[in-house]
Amino acid sequence: MRLVWLFLRSRLAGPALAGIALTALLAVAWERWFGHEPEAMTAAMILFPLVVACVIGTGAHSAFGETELTASLSLPLLRGVYLAGLIAVGALALLLAALAWTLPDDGGTLARNLAGLSGLALLAAPVVGGRLSWIVPVTLAMAAQLLAISDLPSWLALTWPQASFDNDRALALALGLLGSGLAAVHVFGPKVARDEAAG
């Protein structure tokens, strides 16, 4: 238990959880401000999962750098459990926030988008590092949002966050991204820069 506690502290789990909670509160406030505008609520389906996904992606950062690679205990396992836990907490927070919303399937779409966008961030982490992993989900989310408000040709690979929850292919894609992301971080670990300080 002590190890888990210290591990969580090293990953700045407290600020991460606070960030997720704040995002959920903002999601509730968003509905109060812009609930009358369907486009705003459609944007919210991507926006809030995206912010939580960024928090999760930065959570993949290797706090101790190369030292982590020398630990006899399996830190990748601990990291995987931590990230899965963050995703679960993020999904729960968004689902709770969605209770205050009025549109159908809000919770499911939010959870699916969180899964997919988090998966993208985790896939990016071994390449660019945890702290810069947000670049991929942010870029995709912007592209998806633009596709939604324009007449651009839409490919599911880009537009899945905009799909309704009953779109099975979008759901499968999001879950596939999440699984791949978790596997990538587990197998390869986040990119470690030996000079980088924690935090």
Binding site: L50, V51, V55, L132, T139, M142, L146, S150, P153
Partner: protein, 455 residues
């Protein structure tokens, strides 16, 4: 090369933004390419605005990358060492910001060059417009300055990802009109540039909505100044910095005030289109059985469309009231008493011309909805005419009726009967068709027939 230039060169060469440059350039080109010719022809005004429109992706991304770059010294643990150097921190930070920004500008220029190249190859009509391009550039500069400020002030690892999200939301939010007071949306450069784009062919006839480049530039330059003054203030306070901050605030406030006052100017402009000012032009014409003319912007489509129009009017050519001329006009509303058939040079325009051919002449000008006023028997002949030209689009083409409940349009409930009658008429031999038209065309156009009068 001066020391500052050399510093800038080193920063640019080793900037993290260099790694994002290909991604940013690719995304901007993709976005621009997919919106380049929405009305079927290439237009300089539209494509110039499209260069500016890439700001919607590049500005947020640059903001995020700048926020990341601003935290570099802290992340790398170089702050102590840098604190011992005599060069003012502001100059060092501005070099770092410039070295980051240059790659965002490069991505913007790549997207711009791509659009210009495609536009040149398409032999586009009109002249390039520089204002939206400059506004796009200034937006990217302002976004990167804001990102750099956030990255400098907030040491959290969450700052860099939140910057692009917030910037994208700000530009998008201000553009979407989600606020009760719409005038605030004018603070988004995207709002103004978006109104320069062509959403329908009629727009080529009119002056575009005013872009207000000067107020928008003041607003963006002021924001940039405020952000950079904030970056400097975090390190050094002095009269010069406070003065810079105050000047930037005044410039930004002036720009914002001018923009907020431009609400009627922008949002009431060209609503409806016909209220906007017509731009003089000389139509281009080709000769078929009748002259077919169009706005010069659509010259590239004219030959093909003239052939289709020629084929469309072929069964009616010798009948009284047949068109004597076809022309694209600012309002494609029907056929006039002088025999002018209004056409739309894009491919779906044939269906509208078919509808015009079976209805009574209309007064020149806007306001006539061909689809809403068509009678079932007229629709049958219009379908037959259109099918002769393009069966594929004919199959997708429904007769729409005005819906008094919703105020919109609905599919005609007797659509199946119309379809069946059109199929029957099509199956007749050409002599029978011609005879029926000779006897009934005038009455058909006047709406004096019914479905039962059809063979």
């Amino acid at each position: 090369m001066t020391a500052t230039m050399r510093l800038f060169t080193i920063e640019a060469r080793r900037s993290v933004a260099l790694w994002f440059f290909p991604l940013m350039a690719l995304v901007a080109c993709w976005y621009a390419d997919s919106r380049m010719s929405p009305i079927g022809v290439s237009l300089w005004r539209h494509n110039s605005a499209q260069i500016g429109e890439t700001l919607i992706l590049l500005a947020p991304l640059m903001g995020g990358v700048a926020a990341w770059a601003a935290g570099r010294d802290r992340r790398r643990g170089v702050s102590d060492l840098l604190a011992t150097t005599p060069l003012p921190a502001a100059r060092r930070q501005l070099s770092g910001w410039g070295g980051t920004l240059v790659w965002g500008i490069a991505a913007y220029l790549v997207a711009g060059a791509f659009i210009v190249m495609v536009t040149l190859r398409a032999n586009a009509w009109g002249t390039p417009s520089l204002a939206p391009v400059i506004i796009g550039l200034l937006t990217i500069v302002a976004a990167s300055a804001i990102g750099y400020l956030v990255g400098s002030l907030i040491p959290s690892r969450l700052a860099p990802p939140l910057v692009p999200v917030a910037l994208f939301l700000s530009i998008g939010l201000l553009n979407s009109g989600w606020f009760h007071d719409d005038s605030v949306t004018l603070l988004s450069p995207w709002t103004l540039i978006d109104r320069q784009l062509f959403q329908n062919p009629e727009a080529v006839f009119y002056e575009p909505a005013p872009l207000h480049p000067l107020p928008m530039s003041l607003w963006l330059v002021g924001l940039t100044g405020l952000a950079l003054a904030g970056v400097v203030l975090a390190r050094r306070r002095g009269v010069a910095v406070w003065s810079g901050l105050a000047c930037s605030a005044v410039v930004a406030a002036t720009g914002a005030a001018l923009l907020l006052n431009a609400y009627d100017d922008v949002f009431q402009f060209g609503v409806p289109w016909e209220r906007a000012e017509l731009v003089p032009y000389t139509p281009v014409c080709v000769e078929r059985s009748i002259p077919v003319c169009a706005h010069p912007a659509f010259e590239s489509l004219l030959d093909e469309q003239a052939d289709r129009i020629d084929l469309l009017i072929e069964p009616l050519r010798w009948l009284p009231g047949a068109p004597a001329r076809a022309e694209q006009l600012p309002y494609a509303s029907g056929m006039y008493a002088d025999g002018t058939l209004t056409i739309d040079p894009i491919s779906s325009g044939v269906e509208m011309a078919a509808l015009a051919l079976v209805q009574a002449p209309v007064e020149p000008g806007p306001g006539w909805n061909l689809q809403m006023h068509v009678q079932p028997e007229q629709a049958v002949i219009a379908r037959w005419l259109a099918r002769r030209v393009d069966a594929a689009s004919f199959e997708q083409w429904d007769i729409m009726l005005h819906d008094p409940v919703s105020g919109g349009t609905i599919r005609d409930p007797i659509q199946n009967e119309i379809d069946a009658a059109a199929a029957r008429f099509s199956a007749l031999d050409s002599d029978t068709q011609r005879r029926w038209l000779e006897e009934n065309y005038v009455n058909l156009r006047e709406g004096l027939l019914s479905l039962e009068d059809l063979p």
